[in-house]
Symmetry: D2
Subunit: 338 residues, 4 copies
């Protein structure tokens, strides 16, 4: 940690900061520059909160260490590989999750699941509890939706993932699905993160719409702190000034996060772009950038979808996308999970 003192800080103020750092267990080094005095402090950043910046004479405090620990690549050099009923996420193989935005009915979900399986994708997604911007929009089938996910999973053999939006839906979902998804809006719902950490289940943690990479990794740290290391990160676009796409897919985050952390990273091009026609090129781009998998919205009949129809692939489009991915994966040293 570096403490930069004001240009007009006094010897007494410097002394006070030095003492305070000493008290907090830091070893200090005073560096006298031409215009500024800077204090280098060696110790545990967690020991300091914001009080230091408040001390008279202090201009600012510059942290040196990254704040995340358990999720960091420095702690664990090799990739974490998450096992979901025999499917590995985070190794050399690529995992494709697909299915409708929302579970709408047994027929719809089963039809979707069969298309997912036939196309060669690995895991079925389907929303039972839907976080919707408007209270007047369809909010999901709730527990009924979870039951359908379970039934369809038994019938098709596909593992399943669903979003949980609070402690209640998390507890319900535990018994029905294989992966719990924490959505962008809940990335800093810390209570939910802690609960997710206590389940021991695989957690797919989406990046918040305006979350920095550091905040995203800190959210994962919350889960891991509770003893659950089965975390799959998911980049799904960030909010920027550009409005032609729903969000801006930040693909650079993929290789960057994989450098900073040992956790697997997958990409959601459907929510990121909000535009069905962009899903194929951005899926290819995600894999080329190093993603460990994709989560893709697909609806048996997108024109009748109760939500997010505009970004859902139809079954034929999913097949073509899978074929195209099969073709390109070996060229970037990856292969489709079995």
């Amino acid at each position: 940690m570096i403490v930069v003192m004001n240009i007009d800080s006094t010897a007494k103020q410097i002394e006070a900061v030095n003492k305070q750092l000493d008290k907090l267990g830091f070893k200090t080094h005073i560096i006298r520059g031409v215009n500024r005095i800077v204090i280098g402090a060696v110790g545990d950043r967690q020991a300091v909160d914001s009080s230091l910046e408040q001390m008279p004479g202090v201009e600012r405090v510059v942290p040196i260490m990254k704040p995340f620990k358990l999720v960091s690549r420095e702690l664990q050099e090799e990739n974490s590989i998450i096992d979901v009923r025999g499917i590995s996420i985070g190794g050399d193989s690529i995992v494709i999750i697909s299915g409708p935005c929302a579970v709408e009915s047994r027929e719809q979900l089963l039809a979707a699941a069969r298309f997912v399986k036939k196309a060669g994708a690995h895991i079925l997604r389907g929303g039972a509890y839907k976080p919707r911007t408007s209270p007047y929009s369809f909010q999901g089938l709730e527990e009924k939706g979870l039951q359908l996910l379970k039934e369809v999973s038994l019938e098709t053999g596909l593992p399943t993932i669903t979003e949980v939006i609070d402690e209640y839906s998390l507890e319900r979902a535990l018994n029905y699905v294989d992966i719990l998804q924490i959505g962008a809006r809940n990335m800093q719902n810390f209570r939910l993160l802690k609960k997710a950490g206590q389940t021991g289940k695989p957690i797919l943690l989406k990046r918040g719409m305006s979350a920095t990479i550091e905040e995203w990794l800190m959210a994962a740290e919350y889960i891991m702190c509770e003893g659950n290391d089965k975390i799959i990160l998911c980049e799904r676009g960030i909010r920027t000034f550009e409005t032609y796409t729903r969000n801006t897919l930040d693909l650079s985050a993929v290789p960057l996060v994989k450098r900073l952390s040992h956790l697997p990273v997958i990409v959601d091009p459907s929510h990121a772009t909000g535009d069905r026609q962009l899903v194929l090129p951005m899926s290819q781009a995600a894999i080329a950038a190093g993603a460990d998998g994709l989560i893709l919205e697909m609806h048996p009949e997108p024109g009748k979808a109760l939500c997010d129809g505009a970004q859902s692939l139809d079954p034929g489009e999913l097949v073509r996308l899978m074929e195209q991915l099969h073709k390109m994966m070996p060229a970037v040293g990856r292969y489709m999970a079995q």
Copy 2:
């Protein structure tokens, strides 16, 4: 609602969209332009979800109506005025909420409350459940903090506000404080919004860090849908590329939201700027922009604060700020609440 058809859409496609709109209860008008056919549709926007955009030949759907209803100024022309133990929020008078980021101890809170009262501010704030980016940071005293708020409120007569971060803390807080705050990170925690709506208590709803004004008002709509119209909106800065301030305080949102909605709007310059020295000028600016109040962090000894010390006023600064506000309010047609 306006449906813009593709440049190469066929007569059959136009016919199909027309029929679908008819089925959804819309009255349609076809407008033939030079390059485009556009269909004007009159009816209830809530009846349509995203399926229309998915129909062959449709380029895009342009909504005309705003999606919020209950919170809108069109529904209720006069200002909503929220009563908090005799203090009115949303009328001509200005309400000042102040206190520490976190409740740390009985001594600290009581000292803070006495300074708040002495300075002439109206409501005491204090965090008992703290949403923190890092799991390693101080997370609040939880129920113990709520008890202290109650005790100090009884002792000083000040009404209180505290942040709730999930259903559990909401239920706890109900018995201890006068206003429940929903923070920026939970603005789209829809379950929490619904629960808040069911309490009937005054709710302070902070704008999400990357929430549009429309999303913010839709979040308020969630609360109001449940029958609770005691909502106070709070602008607290949005996330932008600028890093010199913690967030970018969007003061234009104040007069804009007051035009769109009948709800009161207050401003939090402490969190928006993250910089104690900016709190005075931005407090003045907020009132000049039309805000109905302020929420200001103040700590008896900012240098010892367990969180957000850098943005906390000390007691003397709060006094000076109140004096300055007293001076300027009449010049913009407002006065300090008694």
Copy 3:
């Protein structure tokens, strides 16, 4: 400057960085932390470019000093006051610049100028060279517009300001107006900045739509480096995700820049909001935040404006705004310039 070494950097790499810093004239201090070695380097930051970050073993380089010098408050403690034909900008008095987006005709400009004067504003604005997003939009009257500005200035006695968009228009404008404006799109047109610096004329430098405060001050530094210290900074809104307003007016930048720099700062609420109804509240807010003046679009008949009609005040609105400002200024320790 702080050089943070990689967790696995070798003694040899540290030695090499140390030597390089020595060669660049820096005095170094090695700080050995638990996980990291950090090198504190004292010297002239300008001596280093990016090569240091490229050296093996270096994780990152953290600058300590601000990069701007001549414009900085550290160099000159007292406010710069710019004189424009007897009107002082940057002192205690507030200066109001007003007029149409574009000069359209002699009649229009003269009418505007008379309203500006009658309302008690101080300087006439009018665009002769218009930077327009579309090549099909009205591009301004060019030199004819400059001549009209001169004529109307002679007739009314008002000083004038106009935007220059390249070296050519800058050279033309020199003979016709009192202040040269460099617009948001040209804030990093460095050639134009240098030329502006060579004129010795007062320069109004708008902040770029996505410029950080640091970049903005560095742009001013370009002008001042050429020997011209008559610089007026102008905050005019930054680009964010919010679309209800044209841009997001960053009023916190006003007190912040005035802390960092000795230059005057004015605010343009017209372009920032793009919404006539927001101009009055945001003008008040700007003054309350500490701005030294305002630049306001006004058109004799906004409904007939060739550009930016939606954000232009009409003459009556300007009068009411001036009256309101007169009332509030003393309450924040300012007064209207004579």
Copy 4:
């Protein structure tokens, strides 16, 4: 164009808007909704500026048509292919541009060019006029740099590209290089765009740091309006809140712009990320997203670069990147240009 009237607009106001639209040559259709009256207007959007929004009773004006014409895919269905000394940009083959950020010396540039050629890249880049944030940074060798580009081009046979930053440098560069680059900071320097349009030379037009896709295409429209259709668009990252990368590479813009426009699109992963280690994965991702080429910073000795060393590949890294691209291109239906 759709004109939405206020909820309380009067019959007289509606009549007036109708008349005004009629006068502007629009055919109108009045649509009476439950709460609102909406006027559909068919005609040439360019005929209207902002005056309509100013008319009493008008809430807002919603444009239907895209504002760009000449660059649009609607006007020209097939891809534009730009020929640069026998190299085609915009067809099935991929073009790689590489070289140093700045031309520093004959030795440096010649060394770089030889590495570029040996690696199999096609065009040499090198900056002679450098737009730098700080006036104290290296500003380029200017005309001397152009001469070196010419000499090295003659010696190696590589076509060249350099950035022009104003009319003066544009006129100089015309005689020395094959492609003129307009940088992000000048994307809305309209005078420069017009001049570039008049040269008839291939123009590489970078997207502005905060430019929407629409503004970017309108900037290209400026060039094409002047009769120059040899335009190569270049995505180089946009400014967002994320600071771990220099900018946020918006790869979704690639397939999106290729859908909206017939112009070729290339990608600059070096400036977008500012991080050498991200250049390979993001290069692959760009090609997978449908880019027609890449522009990559490479320096013979990055550790000694006068600018942007941190993002420059070294010669070995360029070779490995080219090998990797060779391998993956066929998998996405592309091949390396010869």
